[in-house]
């Protein structure tokens, strides 16, 4: 039968900062992603479509560090990376350093399915996505106060020389 596994990152927030409400929200986000992929597989759909659906659901959740919930670079910008691979024939597609496509995983999949390449980056990747008609979002769609505050805290700690013990800021 089918099986689907997902992760929402190893950058879990400190246990001391975890509240019952936050914990419930994370579980609910994971469940929505599992359900998105499960629905594909239960209908006899392809693993490739299931992982795409699951990752899109996670990208749409501001809780997780991808897509809508992406963190900020030291310059206060967002740069997203994504990749997809098909086990049937090792077809693969990836993008890096992009901000604009609502779902970066669809950009990676477009590279795999609509180009002769495996990996596109930056402005050329964005131009390719536009040419493929992918859905773009305005910058405010990707803004989350939590991620912006995390950037300010990290920059302040770097300036002061303090060690950042919070894995949610140290990990992707």
């Amino acid at each position: 039968d089918f099986v689907l596994a997902i992760h929402g990152g190893a950058g879990t927030i400190l246990r001391s900062k975890m509240t019952p409400e936050r914990e419930a929200a994370y579980h609910a986000g994971l469940q929505r992603a599992l359900e998105a992929g499960r629905a594909v597989l239960a209908e006899g759909g392809a693993a490739l479509d299931a992982v795409t659906a699951a990752v899109m659901a996670l990208e749409n959740e501001p809780l997780f560090n991808a897509g809508r919930g992406a963190v900020y670079t030291s310059a206060g910008k967002q740069e997203m990376d994504a990749a997809v691979m098909d086990g049937r024939d090792r077809a693969a597609g990836a993008v890096a350093g992009v901000c604009g496509p609502r779902n970066p995983i669809l950009a990676a999949r477009a590279v795999m399915e609509k180009s002769d390449h495996v990996f596109l980056i930056g402005e050329s990747a964005l131009a390719f996505c536009r040419a493929q008609g992918l859905d773009f979002a305005e910058p405010d769609y990707f803004f989350t106060q939590q991620r912006w505050d995390a950037l300010q805290e990290t920059l302040a700690m770097r300036k002061s020389g303090a060690d950042d013990q919070d894995e949610s800021r140290k990990h992707g």
Partner: protein, 141 residues
């Protein structure tokens, strides 16, 4: 970082990973997520893998491909291979994080060497299992 791996009813595997990177990363820095063989890998003969963590180490150890190679050439199980890479290779090198993986036989492995990893899986029984830290999975139908 987020990711998904799956095996469908036809026996095909796939992997996908997406990330915003690390907070306050250097502009232009690329981690393991989009690097095929490091943070993302799928091959019907072995497994599908998606990683999350200290990307530079995952790249240097070709984490996803290494798991597949242990299965292919050393005949190890998915669980042995994934744990070997995450616990014995990545962790000593400073590569904190984890992976999710499914094998060609439908096995699932979700090892991590840090305090937690937002994770979950579902099989044909349609029970959604999710976990964050080293606690038992919550089951939802």
């Amino acid at each position: 970082t987020v990711g998904a791996v799956a095996k469908d009813r036809h026996g095909n595997l796939a992997a996908a990973t997406s990330t915003g990177g690390m907070t306050a990363k250097m502009p232009g820095r690329v981690g393991d997520s989009p690097v095929i063989g490091a943070g993302t890998w799928a091959d019907n003969e072995t497994c599908a893998v998606s990683g999350t963590g200290h990307g530079e180490i995952f790249i240097r150890y070709a984490a996803g491909h290494e798991i597949a190679s242990l299965m292919r050439y050393a005949g190890r199980s998915l669980e042995e291979s994934a744990r070997t890479v995450v616990m014995d290779m990545l962790a000593p090198a400073g590569g904190s994080g984890g992976v999710i993986a499914v094998g060609r036989d439908g096995s699932v492995s979700l090892p991590f060497n840090c305090s937690g990893m937002y994770r979950g899986y579902v099989r044909g029984d349609n029970v959604l299992r999710t976990a964050i830290y080293d606690e038992p999975f919550r089951e939802t139908r």
